[in-house]
C-alpha cells in the first residue's frame, strides 16, 4: 500500500488489522518511514489550519449539486453563517459547549509583566489608540482594545477564563471597575466563555444589558436589540435596566434594553455548531459516543450495558445534538427517546 494512504488511514482511524501491523513495524524499524509520517502529520495539520483561515468559497460554476451541509447547516440555529456575517433575520442566540478547561486561579504571564490578557489561537484585528493591528497567537491584548475576530479566535483572560470568539465578532476590553476581574463589551457577533474560578465579577455587557458570570461555561450573542445568553454549565445573572434573572444549566435568556430579561427555549447544546467543529467516531462503541456527548452537552444517557458495546460510525458536525443522537440510534437500529435532557436507548 502507498505510504501516504497508510498515513491517512492512521489519521482517520481506518487502519485494518494488516495495515496496523505494517504501520507499527515500519514506524519502529524504518527511520525514513517515521520521518515521512511525521512530515505528513504536520502537513495535514497545516492544511487544516491554513484552510480554516480561508474564506468560504462559492460552489463551483456549473455545479448543480448543492452540498447537503449548505442546505442544512444552521437550520434551527440558522441565521448565522459560519463566515461570520449576519443574515437579515434575527441572530442565532449563542449557546455554550465545552471548549477547554481554564486553569484555576490567576495565571502568571511572563515574569515581569504579571497577568495579562492574551490571544491563544486564531487571528484578531485590534484597534488600539486609533491604529489597527493584526494580532497573532501569543500576543497581548490591552485594556481598551477593540478586537475583531478575523477567524474563530481563543483568548485567555488574566483571571484564567477562556473566551472563544466566532469569526467576525467584535469585543471591547473595558477597564475593570471596582470589584470586577474582567469586563468585555460585546458589540457584534457571539462569544463562548469558560470562566475561571476566581474572586471578583466577570462581566459581559451589551449596550444596556449585562451578564454577570458566577463561574460557568456559557455563550452570549449580540442581538439586533440586546443580548442572548445560553448556559451550558453553572450560573449567570442576566441584567437589563428593568431587572435581572439568574439562569443555570441548560437554560437560555434574552435581555434587551429597558425590558426585563426573559427565559427563552434555546438549546445550549446547539453551541457545538460553532464552538466545536466536526468530531468523527468511526467504528467506535456506542458507549464511547454517548460518553463524549455527555461530556460535551447537558444530555445524559440511559443505555443498557450490552448495548454500550454496539459499534457505530457517526460524524457529529453542524447538526443539533438531538439530531445527532437520533442518527446514532437510527444507525444502530435502536429505539431512542429524548425526554428533556435524558436520552433513553433501548433495543
Amino acid at each position: 500500500m502507498n505510504d501516504e494512504r497508510l498515513f491517512d488511514n492512521y489519521l482517520r482511524k481506518e487502519l485494518t488489522a494488516d495495515e496496523t501491523k505494517e504501520f507499527k513495524h515500519r514506524l519502529g524499524e524504518e527511520p525514513a518511514f517515521a520521518r515521512e509520517f511525521l512530515a505528513y502529520v504536520h502537513e495535514t495539520g497545516l492544511m487544516v489550519q491554513v484552510a480554516s483561515r480561508m474564506e468560504r468559497v462559492a460552489p463551483e460554476a456549473g455545479s448543480t449539486a448543492t452540498p447537503r451541509a449548505e442546505q442544512t447547516s444552521w437550520v434551527g440555529a440558522g441565521r448565522w453563517r459560519r463566515d461570520g456575517r449576519r443574515s437579515s433575520r434575527v441572530l442565532w442566540p449563542a449557546a455554550a459547549a465545552c471548549l477547554l478547561a481554564a486553569a484555576g486561579g490567576a495565571l502568571i504571564f511572563g515574569l515581569r509583566n504579571g497577568p495579562e490578557d492574551r490571544l491563544l489561537a486564531g487571528e484578531l484585528r485590534a484597534t488600539r489608540q486609533g491604529q489597527t493591528i493584526s494580532m497573532k497567537a501569543g500576543e497581548r491584548i490591552e485594556t481598551g482594545d477593540r478586537i475583531e475576530a478575523a477567524s474563530v479566535a481563543t483568548c485567555l483572560l488574566r483571571d484564567g477564563s477562556v473566551v472563544k470568539l466566532d469569526r467576525g465578532s467584535r469585543v471591547v476590553l473595558r477597564p475593570r471597575a471596582r470589584g470586577e476581574r474582567g469586563h468585555l463589551a460585546l458589540e457584534e457577533g457571539r462569544m463562548f466563555l469558560r470562566a475561571a474560578k476566581a474572586r471578583g465579577k466577570l462581566v459581559i455587557s451589551g449596550e444596556k444589558e449585562e451578564v454577570e458570570i458566577l463561574g460557568t461555561v456559557f455563550g452570549v450573542a449580540k442581538m439586533e436589540a440586546g443580548l442572548s445568553v445560553s448556559v451550558f454549565r453553572g450560573q449567570v445573572v442576566v441584567r437589563s435596566t428593568a431587572g435581572e434573572i439568574e439562569i443555570g444549566n441548560g437554560q437560555s435568556a434574552q435581555a434587551a434594553g429597558s425590558a426585563k430579561p426573559t427565559l427563552t427555549d434555546t438549546d445550549p447544546n446547539q453551541a457545538l455548531l460553532w464552538a466545536r467543529e466536526t468530531t468523527e467516531f468511526r467504528h467506535r462503541p456506542l458507549g464511547e459516543v454517548a460518553d463524549w456527548i455527555e461530556a460535551n452537552s447537558s444530555l445524559t444517557f440511559d443505555i443498557p450495558q450490552p448495548l454500550r458495546a454496539e459499534i457505530v460510525s457517526i460524524t457529529i458536525s453542524e447538526d443539533p445534538m438531538r439530531t445527532v443522537v437520533r442518527s446514532v440510534c437510527l444507525a444502530c437500529g435502536l429505539k431512542c427517546d429524548i425526554a428533556g435532557t435524558v436520552v433513553t436507548i433501548r433495543r
Partner: protein, 171 residues
C-alpha cells in the same frame, strides 16, 4: 514565552498525530500553553523550548485521550505510543521551525491553487466533510476522490518546495 507560542503549529501537529481528532488536539495544545504560562519558571534556559512544551502537550494528550476514549483498546494505545516515540526520536526544534516556514508557503500555494482544487481542500480540511459526502457532492467515487485529494496535496507540496527554494516565504 513567545517562542512557546511560535511552535504552536508544530505542537498541534504533534497532538493531532497522537489524538487523531483536530478539536481535541487544538484543545490539548491550548491547555498546554496555559500550563506553560504557569510553569514558565521551570524552563531551563538553553534547553529546547519545543521539546519542553511538547512534553507538556504529551500529558495533556494523555488526559484528553483518557477522557475521550475511555474504551479504547490496548492495541490503540500501543499504536499511539509508537507514534509518540517517533516524534520523540525524530522531531526537534528544527522540525518545528520547518513547520512554521511551510505554513507560510502553503498559504501562498493554496491561494494560487485552481478553484476546483481549492474548493475540495476547503471542503475536506476546513469544513471537515467526510469522503462520502464530498464524493456525493462531486459525483465521484470515494476512492477516486481520495486519490484526487492526495494528488492535490502532492502538487501543493511541490509548490511549497519551490517557494522555499526561491526563498519566497518567511515564517
Amino acid at each position: 514565552m513567545r517562542s512557546a507560542f511560535r511552535h504552536q503549529d508544530a505542537l498541534i501537529g504533534y497532538a493531532y498525530g497522537i489524538l487523531r481528532d483536530w478539536a481535541l488536539a487544538e484543545d490539548a495544545v491550548q491547555e498546554s500553553l496555559i500550563v506553560v504560562q504557569r510553569k514558565w519558571e521551570q524552563f531551563s534556559p538553553g534547553s529546547s523550548m519545543y521539546a519542553w512544551v511538547r512534553q507538556i502537550v504529551r500529558y495533556e494528550c494523555l488526559d484528553a485521550r483518557r477522557t475521550a476514549q475511555r474504551l479504547a483498546p490496548m492495541e490503540e494505545q500501543e499504536l499511539t505510543g509508537l507514534v509518540d516515540s517517533a516524534f520523540e526520536q525524530y522531531a526537534d526544534d528544527e522540525t518545528a521551525e520547518r513547520v512554521l516556514e511551510r505554513k507560510a508557503a502553503l498559504r501562498e500555494c493554496m491561494e494560487k491553487a485552481d478553484e476546483r482544487s481549492r474548493t475540495l481542500i476547503l471542503r475536506f480540511y476546513r469544513d471537515r466533510w467526510p469522503f462520502e459526502k464530498l464524493a456525493a457532492w462531486t459525483g465521484r467515487s470515494s476512492s477516486a476522490l481520495r486519490v484526487n485529494l492526495l494528488r492535490i496535496r502532492r502538487s501543493l507540496r511541490d509548490c511549497i518546495e519551490k517557494q522555499l527554494a526561491v526563498g519566497g516565504c518567511g515564517p
